[in-house]
Symmetry: D2
Subunit: 369 residues, 4 copies
């Protein structure tokens, strides 16, 4: 993992991610891991007092520890380029992504935004148009794509190692919402089961877009149509059960299988040969998988390291821009705004299909035309 030299670390601000938050802390650890990026500013909660307390936990300077994202944005715009943040990370609950991301994009900032991008396709397309107009870096943190073995899987599928793709199976199972967690004071549970905050889908909105993103990233294929079934098991909500992500891709000449809970292994079953188990950082991996591995074979890497690869990609892209080099978002390998748009549309179509008695529903759209 090397980066072109610049004379300083990159600087970023965070919106959301205060004291009780889960994903904000993951973003911070991921950004910090490789010593390339410093957190220098924030508006870490929607309540001003809690925002500032959270900022003090993180050693933010008082004049960059804000009570609202609007104050943060105004303050950054006032600062000189030598002092200003290089990008902002938006890790609020989903329903706030759209206005915040839109404002920072319009003001010319690079953005990392948690997934799913926004609540509706209309918002997603609007945001996409703004990004295209400004030409910014805009990353959506589908962090599973940062796992080295997912990159190896993508390489193998797209270079023909398993022949033509015939079938893809993606499963994502969670157990933590099997009980009524939202009734026992869990903030994490509460917003996920509230349509005003979580959007039109519950578990599907939270994690369904991971499935779409893994499928698309690994295969390079686009989902043509889908036929979905959603059900609400817990009182008043959509619910998945158990806790693992599993991805399998079957082709004419073999299959590949990966499970998020043992992320350092990728199983490859070529037809007519023994299954083989490729592992992180081992001989013969593709360049992109090697680049995504920080440690020699036998040293397990996990969720945060995968996440950090998204941030490394963003940093690499921003540094290239700072140095006036041609930008290479594809080579940098982080999921961009089109991934975010596609994920939002996927969720909408799943719900549409489920509401109309599981009809097969096309996924075509304006931007594909």
């Amino acid at each position: 993992m090397t980066l072109a030299h610049t004379s300083r670390r990159l600087r970023y601000a965070m919106v959301g991610g205060g004291r009780d938050a889960f994903i904000g802390a993951v973003h911070r650890k991921a950004a910090a891991l490789d010593g390339q990026i410093d957190l220098v500013a924030g508006a870490l909660s929607s309540g001003p007092e809690k925002a500032r307390d959270s900022g003090r936990d993180l050693f933010l300077a008082d004049d960059r520890n804000h009570g609202s994202w609007q104050e943060l944005l105004a303050d950054e715009l006032r600062r000189s380029p030598e002092d200003r943040i290089d990008f902002v990370s938006i890790v609020t609950p989903n329903h706030l992504h759209y206005p915040i991301a839109k404002a920072f994009v319009d003001a010319g900032f690079h953005v990392v935004c948690d997934k799913p991008l926004v609540h509706t396709s209309a918002q997603a397309l609007d945001l996409q148009r703004a990004v295209q107009r400004q030409g910014q870096v805009f990353a959506v943190s589908y962090n599973y794509t940062g796992y080295p073995m997912i990159r190896q899987m993508r390489h193998m599928v797209q270079s023909g190692a398993i022949g033509s793709v015939q079938k893809v199976v993606v499963e994502y199972q969670q157990g933590w919402l099997a009980g009524a967690a939202e009734s026992s004071g869990s903030k994490q549970a509460a917003w996920r089961v509230d349509p005003a905050l979580g959007g039109i889908a519950g578990a599907m909105g939270d994690i369904g877009s991971h499935a779409e993103n893994l499928l698309t990233t690994v295969t390079g294929l686009t989902i043509e149509s889908l036929c979905a079934d959603l059900s609400t098991m817990g009182a008043g909500r959509t619910l998945d059960d158990d806790a693992s992500i599993l991805l399998r891709v079957h082709g004419t000449e073999g299959s590949l299988s990966w499970s998020q809970e043992t992320p350092n292994q990728l199983w490859h079953s070529a037809i007519g040969a023994p299954a083989s188990v490729l592992t992180t950082a081992s001989h013969g991996l593709c360049e992109s998988a090697m680049k995504a591995s920080r440690l020699p074979a036998g040293h397990p890497e996990g969720f945060i390291e995968a996440f950090a690869n998204i941030y490394l990609g963003v940093a690499e892209d921003i540094r290239a821009r700072l140095q006036g080099l041609p930008t290479t978002p594809a080579a940098a390998g982080y999921p961009q705004i089109d991934s975010g748009v596609r994920g939002v549309r996927f969720i909408e179509k799943v719900v549409e299909s489920a509401l109309s008695s599981n009809k097969w529903t096309l996924l075509t759209s304006h931007t594909d035309a």
Copy 2:
């Protein structure tokens, strides 16, 4: 993972860990992960030019990017307490640990030192006496003890969950030195097979002390005597083969088993009951295992996260001292200098037993008396 507040991040310097190094980069990522500690100074290689190039890679300020550890030490002693480092991390090849650690301890700095501590028991005891005299934080980075499930294992063994301990099996197998890696330009291989640099033992010196440390940490027991067999398979060296750490502890009422390559799982086989698989951050873990988990169950954590728990313990201990609170090295949970001393003596006794036709050899010593 919370820490008592202070108004700033801790500052540290690194000795060793330049451009080609492996373990130095791991230390840096571990120190950075939780946003508590900043790298501000360094003497990153034994060659001054390479040292400074390596420091620039890491964005060190020019006046804190030194060509030798002696310069680094002199410079830090000149600085005011408001500016001075809080501790130093020593990640050089093993044969340099002793003089560097000794000098920083004598000068009053807290130290994190990579394992094995030093080359001989005489050096180890000398260093231990210096630490005891000064009262510093001195951590030895046996990072396996930072894995949440090792902490859970320790808790279960020491709280009697498997009855009396009857047998402990620790295996550490590596494949990377099976070929003559030292002849093909691997710096990592070269120093490990050179007695002048690696000490009296090869693989045993490199990783054998991990085994001793895991056994002692998990069981709370001390090795009374040992009977060892060492052999040299590759041309002129001691060699292990394959790549995994496995630790099993058998007691009168059950057994526990953990493998470093799937570190988020701990297998517990109670006699007369189905085996159960405890996982990181899941319900019912002990306090210390929960504290060592950064993410909810189902999100894999790895080698760097375990390593970072050593640094978090060190940071917690140093902060307590800065705040004038009673220091709590045991609660902080990082391996201290006595672990380092024990590891050095273990390696010596293994070699002694092997050289005298595998005689049973006692492990008693001055400090135990």
Copy 3:
């Protein structure tokens, strides 16, 4: 595994299962395993010469080694009860099950028939009526239900160990037909891809009914409706890809998971507790799982042993009848003709749903009314 005493082993004849056949040999090994049943007669192939050669391989006496099933049936009817077979096993290709089974049932013989029972619901119901009229033992060899851990799973689900069942996932993946095996002389492949021999469905007809049977056996629930998608990937056929059976049942209080390729383990994830791994013949299994285990814990049992449990159940039922005891087909635990009927209807409804653009299709029927 104990059986009520009679003074002799049971005697059976086999129809089908000649020299090239796969499943016939499995039936024979399963029947032989426990020393309760002797093969004494046969019509082992549709070609008279091959039938007799196959019979000589199996040491059949010349006068009971027949060239056709009609000859076998006629010969047995001529014999005295002291000499006559106790039951017949039908292991021909699927399209011959109906006429052979019908003839033996009408003649008053007990029958073991391979799955799927027959090709159409009309045949299935006709056969079911005949069995009900005669009151015979009629077993359908869904052998997965003979695995001890499937019996344990059924016990746990039906006794409420995981609360209310919310979701069941059954996957059966095969790789051997991924290439065009039928073009390279494989008899096993040829009949499975020929609608005249295999019926209206390919892989679904061959193994889909296993999925239905596992679901029904384990949960005690009936499939209400289904929405199916079938596709033909290989030239002119329906195809599954890869090779494993996996069964998971999710309930309100936990989940159970079993994979046929490691059949001696049953994973139980109770919500809020570590996963536990129940193993064959270990402490605390239910009576029916213990009865289905032949060896102490730690000694793997496999496919043939599971199959043999079907035969043990059949033998237990036949012996009870020979001794004039009340018959206990349910306690004997082998799948009966209603399982066969249900499997045929399931395949028909899958095809019906797939042909009508994946409409949700009810599975109700005459016999349920």
Copy 4:
């Protein structure tokens, strides 16, 4: 698995293996599995009444259901060759192996004897001389060598697939004697902890010779010397803890690993390549592993099937002799009397080494000279 034709099944008698016995029932199932061998006579227990009750359970004819092995032997010697057994299986407690095996060998019968062969090297060598004099088939039922993947492992090691063998690790761990099972009426436990019945070693005597046999079979190497440590944990006995057999062989170019609890998989880690998982009956296995597989890939086989491969080898050898063909014990692949002798000597030397403060002890002997 094919055998040369003869006009009849082989006939055998069993000594030991009555109602409470474990291993006798395993032998019977193994012998029955393939329809090649009939049990026709027995002396199934040391008590005449229990012996005959046990024989009736197995449907033995009254005139071949004996109260002692001496009666069985006398009766068989009176019978004509057309009626006489082809071989005897000895499955009594270990201390009775010697006199019974000696008597049947001297009388000219082929023998299958459970392991360990006898109690002392003197007995073993005496028996070996008798077998060599008579030229009989004499199999020792080390059934692990019947597993297809052990045969594959042997093939790979001996054909150089992992280069020169550098290290072999065999572990056999059991949990069932962790409690004082002998005090709670377990017949299986009682004789294993009684030196008069079990011999000079407890767990080592029971299962230690499996370890020696696996090592020797797989590598084709002979143990030169050993250094052993035995301890008695339970009241008055030697005890192993936990329940699995694991065998790993490390060579210069890779390693192989197999665990008895998942016997259908063999892991092969070639240096510099991904690990691969060879499975029973899959493409590319050696001839002897394919011959030892009864079912297609994906259908698990277990302990009894491995055991049955010993019996198939014996049957193949006996049939060849009946047909006057050159005998091929090596090709038949069952463990012969020299394996039994080696196992007894191994146990003796383990105890000798342990009693003399773990001295390195040579394993040379008369027969090797």
